[in-house]
Amino acid sequence: MNPSKIHRTKLPRLATVLAVGVASLGLAGCDDTGGDPRVQIGSNPALPAIHQYLLPPIRIARPVPWVNDTPKVPAGLQIHALATGFEHPRSLYVLPNGDVLVIESNGPKAPVFRPKDLITGVVQRLAGAKASNANRITLLRDSNGNGVPELRSVFLDHLNSPFGVALVGHYLYVANTDAIVRYPYEDGQTFITDKGTKLTDLPGGPIDHHWTKTLLASPDGSKLYVGVGSNSNIAENGMEAERERAAIWEVDVATGAHRVYASGVRNPTGMQWEPETGKLWAIANERDEIGPDLVPDYLTSVKDGGFYGWPYSYYGQHLDPRVMPQRPDLVSKAIKPDYALSSHVAPLGFAMYTGSALPAHYRRGAFVSEHGSWDRTPLNGYKVVFVPFNGGTPSGSAEDIVTGFLDQNGHARGRPVGLAVDRTGALLIADDVGDTGWRGSSATASSASRQSS
């Protein structure tokens, strides 16, 4: 009846051997605890070998409320909630009259291309990253600079996943995820009713993987620099989806014309002018899924025409095997970033400090907020650090400035995002899980704010 009956007993045995072999290969590297992040901070981070996963690690911090607690700051500083009850506040901007804009925003709905995307959606919901999208900017006014705003108003509403804001003269530029829109603004205005004029389109949907578009005006107000993140982790949506992405754009304010100022920056989420040299600096989020200590996120000066590796290589010219076809011509030009912040910390806020209200120690350097890891054990980030600068470059190790976003059980009370320095010189921190705006100031801030107001 069955001519091949005799072969049956041997074949499954072979298959079993193969299965065990493959399984042991895949599981061999499952001890995936990340090393000490301190060896990856600074200009020469240690870079371990690539490890590709069978089951990518997911380690999220479940949100718990702050109640009456606050983040922690070192001696010499104090921290208070400037205002609470926001809806996923992502970034902050301080207007010349001292009014603080709080950009309440979240990304557009992510498309499902693969079964994995369904799981990612669930994970993001658990981490509190799937909050509703307010698409709004709220204005806070603290006229006497005591850290308690007397006025709170809806400044601008019905936006499209806004993130970056920049004021140039009497025009306020808002970077929605798909366009820069210009609004007329007069000093002291507490809301804008104007419909706005589109300056230029930006790469938006339908995928829009990294949706935040950060904005920085040139000192003379003639150009806007726009951080445009990649449309994927590592080009897995195809390179055609990455057109003019993973780049910093330079947009002409007068005409809206743009050019790619720098490329290969996976997700540039914050930009600042370094005050001593006047050079452009940016923070960037690097790629995932090749290990708990790869690839370090970074802080770097940005060179005109510079290529920073993504997707073909990381941290200079270290090849990423996940990209095909490869581009050795581009990799040979890839610039190594200036300063590593360690892996998966997710820097999302950047403020060069030029004020004088904080203790003298903080007067030359950069504050960077680290939103925190979701794919690394132990968790990394979930704090604001200070990178001292000297002569226009980082001059020391990053110091923890605002901590306590994680509780003892590894739950997240909040996650720091956008940073800004207010008129009094205090550091403002948006917290998109705690839905709070925090204000860190000198422990003797009352006297400092009196002097400056």
């Binding site: 091949s4 074949l11 590709q52 996940r322």
Partner: protein
Amino acid sequence: MKHIALAETSFRPVAGQGPMAMASYRTIHRILVPFPVAYFAAALATDLAYWQTAEVMWERFSVWLIAGGLVMSALVALAAACDLAFGKQRPAWIRALGYAVAVLLSLLNVFVHSRDGYTAVVPTGLMLSAIVVAIMLLYSVAGDWTLTYPRGARP
């Protein structure tokens, strides 16, 4: 080959059991068992296409096909369990074991295929897809993919 199998499950009289009972029952999992085979074979084809073109559409096809094959495999297992419980069937251990190996390899494969970029397929994913199809093909030579026999029938 098909009519022989039908005769096995449906009409062969078995000692101690009435012929009516046998005639009224057909194994459920027999209907579902070709689905994973087809899905995993199609995934090998789309893997080969991705290997040759590096076009992401093929990799997405592959991962959905493997995931779909796994869902159908789960239904097959469920149906086979029903057949064993209610259908007067007993397990065909060797075939079931071989089938399980192919499914477990495909489970590894769906994780490999969930990686980002080229290494989601080349080389590990492609190899796993090929091994799974090779196992399935050997089964087709061996007869069919059913995982049970009627009680009393000789394997």
